[in-house]
């Protein structure tokens, strides 16, 4: 079906089917919006958090979506700075996914503060020593960069493109996109790193605390590295999912292959660094504070040593090995499995660096703290997923997201 708003030469589902899909996802979105309203109106007593568990599901969701949104800055870096032309097939989608992830992170942050109307204090009364201040500044600036990167694509909608001013604006923005890609890489290095630093600098929390370089704990670099490694995996995964749902080929196979290869090597080197970091922490840092490794993985109902094995081996080393081998990459099932495992791995890492940190007892007469999110927290965490699905659906339908779609689907 084609209408003037749909890019020329591509086929889209009937309007009725599309509307029905939007209604279903929209219902989930409304459920999240209702929970969001409750939280803003009644306060954080609507959550399952408490004084021992001040950081919980939302902070994890924030860290996770920002890591997964890392595909935008790293793919942009590879496309515009390194000059990997093959990735032009997927860069638009990477930017949209990044935009969704970062706007979701900002929305969750707006929920996760006790005084939402004072959120701007982080900029106005900025404490330059706080990792959170750096996160707020870089994250907001990078979101602005992502918006600028997204605008030319929006302007390429057939209806908007007919307006001469918008047509030329879009063209000129494309010309200078390398500048924004470079700015995005710079900002991402710092905000991804600062997010790692948020937990790493907590020297009162031996489970999170890491030694480091100058003012940066090792986690600063590990977070940036892991986001660059796993972000592209998430982009590939969403692209694969979109291909399955739309039953179309959207991205050239060589783009997938190159991204998977780079992602694999990034993941492998990250895992080497992560294992070295874990070993040093377990052998030197934690014992200096009076803790042995197993103190953090026993005597509680959830946080067993399995979590470390799952993160480092099953969701780290295994996907890295699949992605660096040609056979692994060329087998679509293996490739998707590896991408899923890598995404799960980074989510486990972010979970551990937030929730296990809060759960682990510090004083010998304290016990493990367990936490259960309320439905309001769950609904508002699912809210960005519904929002992302709607934005992706609209973008896929009305914007030329995939430059090679026509060529890859000649029969349609």
């Amino acid at each position: 079906m084609t209408t003037p708003a749909i890019p020329e030469g591509v086929k889209r589902c009937p309007t009725r089917q599309f509307t029905l899909w939007l209604a279903v996802v929209g219902a989930v979105l409304l459920w999240g919006v209702y929970a969001m309203f409750l939280i803003w109106y009644k306060g954080l007593n609507q959550t399952g958090m408490n004084d021992a568990y001040g950081f919980a599901l939302w902070i994890w969701a924030d860290l996770a979506v920002i890591a997964l949104g890392g595909g935008a800055f790293f793919t942009g870096f590879l496309t515009y700075i390194i000059g990997k032309k093959e990735l032009k097939s997927i860069i638009n989608y990477a930017v949209i996914i990044g935009f969704i992830c970062y706007s979701s992170a900002l929305l969750i942050l707006a929920l996760d503060i006790g005084q939402p109307l004072r959120g701007w204090f982080i900029f106005w009364h900025a404490n330059v020593h706080s990792m959170l201040t750096e996160v707020a500044f870089c994250l907001s600036c990078y979101f602005a960069v992502l918006t600028i990167e997204f605008i030319p694509l929006v302007l390429e909608n057939p209806k908007l493109d007919r307006i001469p001013f918008l047509h030329h604006l879009s063209h000129n923005l494309h010309e200078v996109m390398a500048v924004f890609a470079a700015t995005g890489v710079f900002l991402s290095f710092f905000h991804q790193g600062s997010l790692g630093g948020v937990a790493g600098v907590l020297y009162g929390r031996p489970f999170a605390f890491r030694e480091g370089l100058l003012i940066w704990p090792w986690t600063f670099f590990l977070f940036t590295w892991s986001a660059a490694a796993v972000g592209p995996c998430f982009t590939m995964l969403i692209t694969w999912l979109t291909e399955k749902i739309t039953q179309k080929k959207l991205v050239r196979p060589e783009a997938f292959q190159l991204l998977a290869k780079i992602s694999g090597w990034m993941l492998l080197t990250y895992m080497i660094a992560k294992i070295a970091d874990t070993w040093y922490w377990a052998a030197v840092t934690a014992p200096s504070k009076g803790f042995s490794l197993m103190d953090f993985y026993s005597n509680n109902p959830v946080y067993g040593i399995w979590i470390l094995i799952a993160e480092l081996v099953i969701c780290g080393i295994v996907p890295a090995l699949i992605l660096i081998t040609r056979k692994g990459r060329e087998n679509k099932k293996l490739l998707v499995t590896a991408a899923i495992l890598a995404v799960l791995g980074v989510c486990i890492n972010r979970w551990v660096m937030v929730l296990q940190v809060m759960a682990a007892p510090l004083l010998p007469f304290h016990d493990w703290y367990m936490y259960m999110p309320t439905w309001q927290e769950v609904a508002t965490t699912i809210l960005p997923v519904a929002y992302g699905a709607i934005l992706i659906s609209l973008a896929h339908r009305y914007l030329p997201v995939f430059p090679h779609e026509k060529e890859l689907n000649p029969g349609q």
Binding site: Q115, H125, L202, L362, L363
Partner: protein
């Protein structure tokens, strides 16, 4: 032009709590509630969301009757000096909006309630769980509002609060001394509400730098220790106990480690700064 008072030396206000004297009566908590306008809920059974600036922990030696021994540990904010004794306390450096700060002239860690926007990073950073979040709007029964302390602001929903060593009392005492042309405060001029309320005199409060204050010598006694000393937070709240199992409960140790030796090492390291 008005001449400003000059500080002759830096003060380091701290507390020494003798656990052998503490009976766990909770008078310190009640006094703190009243003095600092700490709100409470109709149902206080959920202690994880209770507001209190000082709480009393009950610990035992883990042995069965008749060898069981119990100790009560009152825990206010530890007013940490930080890793290098420069005010880099766990909470201060992480606060993104400078809502919490370290006063170099007194060593007291402050909290500006109208600056705090409730990110709770300071709570995550504090190993003592000394910081409390206002999960609800504060409410007092109508008549009780008449008893609120006019020197202490009530805190609103969505911000973090904590023990300030009754800083408003310090301000009052300092103003009085200034009017009288003095620069130094006597020990009894500035005391916290919990120290004054303690029926067994288990809590001593004063300037840890001033040899004339009781806390000076008490904090240097052989049985003095601090909680989680190995984390290098350098708290200004000291505890006294003659019981080795109580001292061992104050920190984490690996099997075979000697707590006394490690504590002595930490004390020497802190003293060199």
């Amino acid at each position: 032009m008005t001449q400003q008072p000059q500080h002759t030396k830096t003060k380091r206000y701290g507390m020494v709590i003798d656990l052998d004297k503490c009976t766990g009566c909770g008078a310190c908590m009640v006094a703190c509630y009243a003095e600092n306008n700490v709100p409470f809920r109709q149902d206080e059974s959920d202690k994880m969301r209770s507001l209190n600036w000082i709480r009393v922990m009950k610990v035992d030696n883990g042995k069965p009757f008749p060898d069981t021994q119990v100790c009560y540990i009152p825990m206010p904010c530890m007013q940490c000096d930080g890793q290098h004794m420069e005010g880099h306390s766990p909470c201060v450096s992480v606060c993104p909006a400078v809502a919490t700060d370290y006063d170099q002239t007194t060593g007291i860690v402050s909290q500006i309630y109208t600056r705090c926007f409730g990110c709770r990073y300071c709570m995550a950073a504090c190993p003592y769980h000394a910081r409390k979040f206002n999960w609800w709007d504060p409410k007092w029964p109508a008549d009780m509002e008449k008893y609120l302390n006019p020197d202490v602001s009530a805190r609103m929903r969505g911000v973090v609060e904590k023990c300030s060593f009754c800083y408003h009392r310090y301000q009052k005492a300092r103003d009085k001394a200034y009017v009288e042309g003095r620069e130094e405060l006597h020990e009894d001029e500035y005391q916290t509400a919990c120290a004054q309320a303690c029926p067994t005199n288990a809590i001593a409060f004063g300037d840890l730098h001033n040899p004339e204050h009781a806390v000076y010598s008490l904090s240097r006694s052989k049985t003095a220790f601090r909680l989680l000393e190995r984390l290098n937070t350098n708290p200004k709240v000291y505890y006294l106990s003659s019981k080795s199992w109580v001292r061992r409960k104050a920190d984490n140790y690996l099997e075979g480690e000697n707590p006394e030796q490690i504590r002595e090492k930490a004390r020497k390291a802190a003293a060199t700064h």
